[in-house]
Every structure is written in structure tokens, then in C-alpha cells.
Amino acid sequence: MDAAMLYALRDPAGVPSHPLVFLVLGVLTWALHIAAVQVMLGASALTLYGAFSRNPYWRRLAAAMLSTAKVAVSVAIVLGVAPLLFVQVIYDPFWYTANVLSARWVIGFIVILIVAYLAMYLFYYRNPRLATQPVRGAWHLVISLLLMLVVGWIMHVLSYQMLLPEQWMSWYAPNGQIDPSGKSLHGYSVTRFSFFILLSVAVVAAWLFAYRRYLMGRNAEDAGYIAWLLPLAHRLMLVGGVLAVASGALWLATLPEKMAWFATSAWIWVSAAALLATAFFPRLLGHKLDQSLWGYVPFALGAVALIVVGTAREALRYFTLFGSHGYDALDYKVNMDWYSTSLFFITFAVLGGVILGYLLTVAWKAGQTEGVYTPSRAITRLGNLSIGLLVLWVVQFFAVGFYVWAR
């Protein structure tokens, strides 16, 4: 696959903003996606462990983590849509080829994800009171977790096959015979996949610190449980940190030749520093963890670390395709479109900011309140503003539309 071929696969319509904008948004939204995935995997695993424990605290944790996992799947899916969009804007030659060559698995991905999600719900319906009653049908959750890993594996293969254009032809037409069935997963790296999956341990540990802080705002009866959570979160964070560094090192040690430069690049040092900072930060905080909003900071820091890791992952892709294959994702033809570009950023920053700010504040406050929560005047005004902004958005949709139509 020479550079001329790769460039020919680009979409002739070009892109409506500078390609760098899509690349950056891709990295940011992917980091959020993988954070949700890791919370989901970690929470499922904790649920599974806790469900078999006799310790009432473990059982309570299992119930809470089950609710977390259920919501986290939804969040992981919706956050996955954004990088799915952006990756095919500037890396379309690679993304489409990688998908078509494993087409059957791409379709399988949908079915497997549905089964995995339903299995999680079935487990929930069989165990509405997991905190107090013995677990039933645990295999539902085992299956769900395993299938989620299969889904992640398919994602991994698609991401990885993008990086190996030199092998595409031998996958598509082994010995010169075209095989259009898309039945195989061709390119993968077990160590890379393990790294992203094992990060779940540290991420769910950070999540536990936040969960603990959230409970502290509620009532005093939880004191025993809250105290019990602390050493657990610390231990998981330590184990998670070690696992991340070890599996990361293993991944770097097994990079194929054309990507070997990555192992010693600055990207790695920065990522390692960010991960280690996240792992040690809760210990550094000590008692402060229980004061004001500090308990939420480990998770916020973890999110930043994931953005750094995501950036390194992107650097690996960009420079590998540029250096070894002569494809520069950033020289995409631009057909600048100001209207849709600004509409997105306004919707994202203003509507997204205000509305999600309102919704999450209400959700958080309601969780912290005993009985019925009635928002303050200021928050209610934010709610009315949210509705107003949405109506305004719909009005501009039609106003611009009728204008264009009549022109």
C-alpha cells in the first residue's frame, strides 16, 4: 500500500474545518469513552466479587457497583459515538478498510453488545436486593463481563488493523485469492489490549474515592461503610498503578519494529508521569481526601491522565502512518463550512454546558438530600434557561432552514 493508494481512499469531499480540530476532539472524546468503559469493567468486576462475599459492606458495594455499571454502559456507548465520528473524518482510508476486512465481526459487535447489556440487566432483575440477599444467577454477570471484553477486543482489532496497511492486501486476498467474507480478525496486539483493559483497576479505584466522597455528603449512618471503603480504594489504586506500569511496559517492549520509536519517545514519559501521579495522589492527600471536594479530585486527575494517554495513543497512530506510510492526516483538503462548525461549538459549549450542568447538579444534589429535593432559585433558573436554549435552538433550525429554502 503506497502513499498514493492511501490518499486515493480519502473522501473527495474534504473536511469542513481544519483536520487538527477533528484530531483533538477525537482524542478528548476517546479519553472520555475509555474512562466510561473502564468504570464499567471495573464496577462489573467489583460487583461480581462482592456478590459472593459474606461481608455486608462488600455486598452493599456490589449493589452500588451494579447500578454504576448499568449506567456506565450507556455512557460508554454514547461517548463512543463521538470518536467513531471523528476517526472516520481524518483517518477514513484506514478506518473503513480495517472495518470492511473484518466486516462480520463489525456486525457481530452490535449483536454481542446487545447480549452483553441484556445479560447485565437480567442479572439486575434477578438480584434487585443484592446488598442483603444471596446472589442468584451470577453467570449472567460473568457472561456479560466476558462479552463486554469481546466487544472491546473487536474495537481493539479495528483500531490496530488501521496501523498495518502493509498487511491489508494479504488479509484481503491471501495468495492472490480475494476473500470478501470479512470473517477474520487479522491484526491485534494482546499487550496493547491488556494495557487498556488493566487500566480499569486504577480507574475504578479513583471512582471509589469519588463514590466515598459522595456518600459522605449524605448521612452519618454510613460512617462504618465509608471508613471501610478507604483502604479498599487505596489498595486498588496501588495494584492498579503497578498493573498499568507493568502492562504498559510490556506493550512497549512488544511493539512491532516500525512503531519501536514510540517506546522511548517523550509521549511515554509524560504518560507514565501522569499515570503515576494519579496512582500516588490519593496517598499524598491523606486526610484531605475527606475535606471539601478533594475526594472527587483523584477521579478528575485520572481523567486528565487518560487524556494524556489518549494523546500518546494518537501520536503513535499519526506518526506511524506519517513516518512509515507517508500519510499525513493533517493535510486533508478543507472545504471550510463556518455555519455548521460554529453551530456545533455553540451547541456543545453553551447548550451542552448549561443543560448538562443543570441536570448533573440536580442529580448530585438530589442524591445528597434526604427526602424530596427542591432546587434553589438559581438552579431552577438554570433549568428554565436550559429549556429556553433548547427552544431557541429549534427556532434557529427552522429560521435558517426556511431562509435557505426560500432563497
Binding site: P16, R104, G176, T347, G352, L359, P375, W405
Partner: protein, 469 residues
């Protein structure tokens, strides 16, 4: 070296990739319409509950919300990306054309998705935990955001059929591509039918109401909404058909089966009758019956609609410039897009395609069959199955013709000239026409059952006709 940007092919011998996409899309339409319908209905119930001070209604939302919203929501949110993934593998350049013109619109829709996902959990889990005015606010946010996703996707779907305004081809620009008479007609029609779906799906919820008087009130309201929206939808459908461009009108006149209009009218009539009956006899309404009705609307309403939409945009898959077989069919100066037909006419498919094994780039007597298969895969298999099952099996159209020269003449005379309205212009030089003809002749239904299943099966299948000669 110049290339045309065709991706590798995915070929599904059983039912064909087109049907895989169609199935996933139809299921998604059911789930997503159910979700939007339920969201609007719940916003309504939430309002009633607030105005009349009937908190039990919110309990009701909570119970059924869990079932309806989470299920249609969970499955809707997976089948949504599912359509995307399946079109990615079935028609990469089709989806790519939409993405590259409308990425910001999709990104904007994504903001609404995020709001929806947060909102849906809050509507369910915050019942009784926040005051009712706040719950109502959240329901309204959720309802409008849901509708926002529809506003966006309709413009993109309209473009897929036909760019909003013809100026788009010359001037380019997102607005010209997105907005046009067809966009608004489709939006109005879909909005009407969305309320029809709301009324049908609302029946699942209303059927379970215990309080007889209240059940009657709600059921009748739903029935009125249903009758009005079905009527409006039918009329708007006619408007919609009138906004179709001439080429699509020709397709409608020639390609849609005669029974299509009859079936459409009877489906709408049937739905109307359903609402009339539930208006007259609200107590007959049960969740099970309403569910049967929901599925019936899916099978007899949505599926034929998907199929019809698919067939009237032939031979294009997106924006009237990307052919179903992925070749760029015409210049779009507004976007700096060049037709790939001239290059194919000059040099042929095999030398200019990226994904062709080296030994097939030049047709020879010994590789003709394989080269022909490669050509059939890229130029025909998006619309014609190469096996005996699936969509329009190619073998059937050539009915066991074994005369290579005759088939070759046919290919060059029809497809090669681009005179068939529902098929792309497929220029074939002598060597490539010969290769394709050799392959088509080898598909003779008697001698071969499933010539393209896999590479392994192929080695036996393809050898057979070669030896025969």
C-alpha cells in the same frame, strides 16, 4: 499512478449486505421511535400530574419508564451506532460522503444524545426524589432534546436521497445540502408519524392503567392523537412524494411494485381503525394488544418504507453522486469532487482500483475468471447477489446463458453506456467485459450453487468451470 478510491468489498452470500443494513435500520427505527414517542408521552403525563396534583402518575411513569425507556433506549442506543457500523462495512463511501459533509451536524446531534442519556436516567430515578416542577423541567428537556436529534438526522437522510437544493452541486456548502423542500416535507411527515408511534406505543402504557375512568381518558386522548396524526401523515406523505426530484419520480413510477400504493393506504387505514376502536372501547386496550400493534406497524409500515426508500434512490447511495457500487458518478464542482468515470473509461477498473491482487491487474486468458470475479464483486455485488440467494441474484438475470461473447456484448451495450436508469454507468473495456462475462457465465445456476462463499470453497468452485472448457 492514478487510482479510484474503492475500498475492499464485504460480500455476504446468505442474504446480502443490503438486507443486513435494512434489518438493523428497521429495528432501530422501532426502538428509537418508541423511545421518542414514550419521551413525549411521559412529558405529557408529567404535566398532567403536575397540574392536577396526581403524584400517582409519576409512580406510573417510573414503573413503565423502566420497561419502555430503558429497553427501547438501551437497544435503540446500540442499534443506532449499529446502523452506522453496518453501513460502514456495506457501503463505506456512502457513509463517508455523509460524514464528510455533515460531521458537525452529527457532532451536534451527539450533544443531544448525551443530554438524552443523562435525562433518561434522571426521569426514571428521580421520581419522588425531586419536586414535581423540577421533574417536569427534566422531562421537557428530555423531550425537546429527543426531537432535536430527529431534526438533525432528517436533514442528513434527505441529503442521502437528494441534496437539499440543486445549487449544492455548483456552490457546495452545508446549508445547500441540508435544507430543501424535501427536507421539510420529510420532517413534517416523520413528525406526524412519530406522534402516530407515540399513540401506538402509549397504548402499552395506557393499557396497564388500573383506574377505569383515567384509563378511558388517556386512551381516548391517545386515540385522537393517533387518528389526527395518521391522517396528517398520509397527507404529508403526498406532499413528500411531490418534492421528490424528477429522476426519483421516474423511479417511483417504474420501480415500485403496483401493490405499493394499495398496501400503503391499507396500512394507514388499519392504523386509523385501531385508534377508532380504542376510542370507542377504551377498556379493550391491553399492553399485549398494543405491543402486537407496535410490531405490526413495524412489519407492515416501517419495513416497506425502508425498502421503498432504498429502491427509489438507485443507482445512487448518497447525494446523487456516489453510486451504490461506490464509484463517484459525477463532478460536484461546489465541493471539488471529480467523477471517476473518465479515469475508468481511460484505464479500466482493474489497473486503477486500490484493492486488486497484482496478478489480476491485467486480464489474461488464464486469470480471466478471477479477474471477472473481482470485477463482479466491486461493480455489481452491492446490488446483485453472486450466489443463488439474497438480493437480485446475478445468475438469474442471465438465465444460464453460456455464450461469453453474447454476455460481453450485452454488458458493454447496456451498463457500459450508462443508459439503464436504475443501474450505474459501468464502463467496461474489451478485456474487462470479457473477464466479467466469463465469470457471469460461470455462475450458471445449475453448475454452481454458491461460488463465492469463501476463499476455500472458491478454490473448488472456480476450478470446476475452468476444467470444463
Amino acid at each position: 499512478m492514478e487510482y479510484i478510491g474503492l475500498f475492499p468489498m464485504w460480500y455476504e452470500p446468505g442474504i446480502g449486505s443490503g438486507w443486513v443494513v435494512g434489518l438493523i435500520a428497521t429495528i432501530h427505527v422501532l426502538f428509537s421511535h418508541t423511545a421518542v414517542g414514550a419521551a413525549i408521552f411521559f412529558a405529557y403525563l408529567s404535566t398532567v400530574s403536575y397540574q392536577r396534583n396526581q403524584p400517582e402518575l409519576l409512580e406510573f411513569i417510573k414503573r413503565y419508564g423502566l420497561f419502555l425507556l430503558v429497553f427501547s433506549y438501551v437497544l435503540g442506543s446500540i442499534t443506532g451506532p449499529g446502523i452506522w457500523y453496518s453501513t460502514t462495512v456495506a457501503s463505506p463511501r456512502g457513509i463517508s460522503a455523509l460524514i464528510h459533509s455533515f460531521v458537525w451536524k452529527w457532532a451536534t446531534e451527539w450533544v443531544f444524545f448525551v443530554i438524552e442519556v443523562v435525562g433518561v436516567y434522571m426521569i426514571i430515578y428521580l421520581v419522588g426524589k425531586v419536586d414535581r416542577a423540577t421533574h417536569l423541567r427534566i422531562s421537557l428537556i428530555f423531550g425537546i432534546a429527543s426531537y432535536g436529534t430527529m431534526l438533525i438526522i432528517i436533514g442528513i437522510l434527505s441529503f442521502m436521497m437528494w441534496p437539499g437544493k440543486p445549487e449544492w452541486f455548483v456552490e457546495g456548502g452545508y446549508l445547500n445540502g441540508f435544507y430543501g423542500a424535501n427536507t421539510f416535507a420529510q420532517l413534517a411527515m416523520r413528525t406526524a408519524f412519530m406522534f402516530t408511534m407515540t399513540a401506538v406505543v402509549g397504548g402499552i402504557v395506557a393499557g396497564a392503567i388500573k383506574d377505569v375512568a383515567f384509563k378511558r381518558e388517556i386512551t381516548r386522548k391517545l386515540a385522537l392523537l393517533g387518528m389526527a396524526s395518521t391522517l396528517a401523515g398520509g397527507l404529508l406523505f403526498m406532499w413528500y412524494m411531490n418534492t421528490l426530484p424528477d429522476s426519483a419520480q421516474v423511479m417511483v413510477a417504474n420501480r415500485l411494485p403496483d401493490w405499493f400504493a394499495v398496501s400503503l393506504v391499507s396500512v394507514l387505514g388499519g392504523i386509523f381503525a385501531w385508534f377508532a376502536v380504542t376510542w370507542l372501547q377504551p377498556r379493550l386496550l391491553s399492553p399485549a394488544l398494543a405491543m402486537v400493534m407496535t410490531v405490526a406497524v413495524l412489519v407492515f409500515g416501517l419495513w416497506p418504507e425502508e425498502v421503498a426508500r432504498e429502491s427509489i434512490r438507485k443507482p445512487y447511495v448518497a447525494g446523487q453522486y456516489v453510486y451504490s457500487n461506490q464509484v463517484i458518478a459525477r463532478d460536484v464542482p461546489g465541493m471539488g469532487i471529480k467523477s471517476e468515470i473518465p479515469l475508468i473509461e481511460r484505464k479500466g477498473f482493474l489497473p486503477t482500483q486500490v484493492f486488486v491482487p497484482a496478478q489480476l491487474r491485467v486480464v489474461t486468458e488464464s486469470n480471466a475468471l478471477h479477474a471477472g470475479r473481482s470485477l463482479a464483486l466491486t461493480t455489481c455485488s452491492n446490488c446483485h447477489s453472486l450466489s443463488s440467494t439474497g438480493m437480485r441474484p446475478l445468475a438469474k438475470y442471465f438465465g444460464g446463458n453460456t455464450d461469453v461473447a453474447q454476455v460481453k456484448t450485452y454488458l458493454q451495450g447496456t451498463l457500459g453506456t450508462g443508459n439503464t436508469i436504475y443501474m450505474p454507468h459501468i464502463p467496461l473495456n474489451d478485456a474487462e467485459a470479457y473477464a466479467l462475462a466469463r465469470f457471469i457465465v460461470s455462475l450458471n445456476p445449475q453448475s454452481l450453487r454458491n461460488p463465492l462463499r469463501t476463499a476455500a470453497a472458491e478454490s473448488t468452485a472456480l476450478v470446476a468451470p475452468t476444467i470444463k472448457e
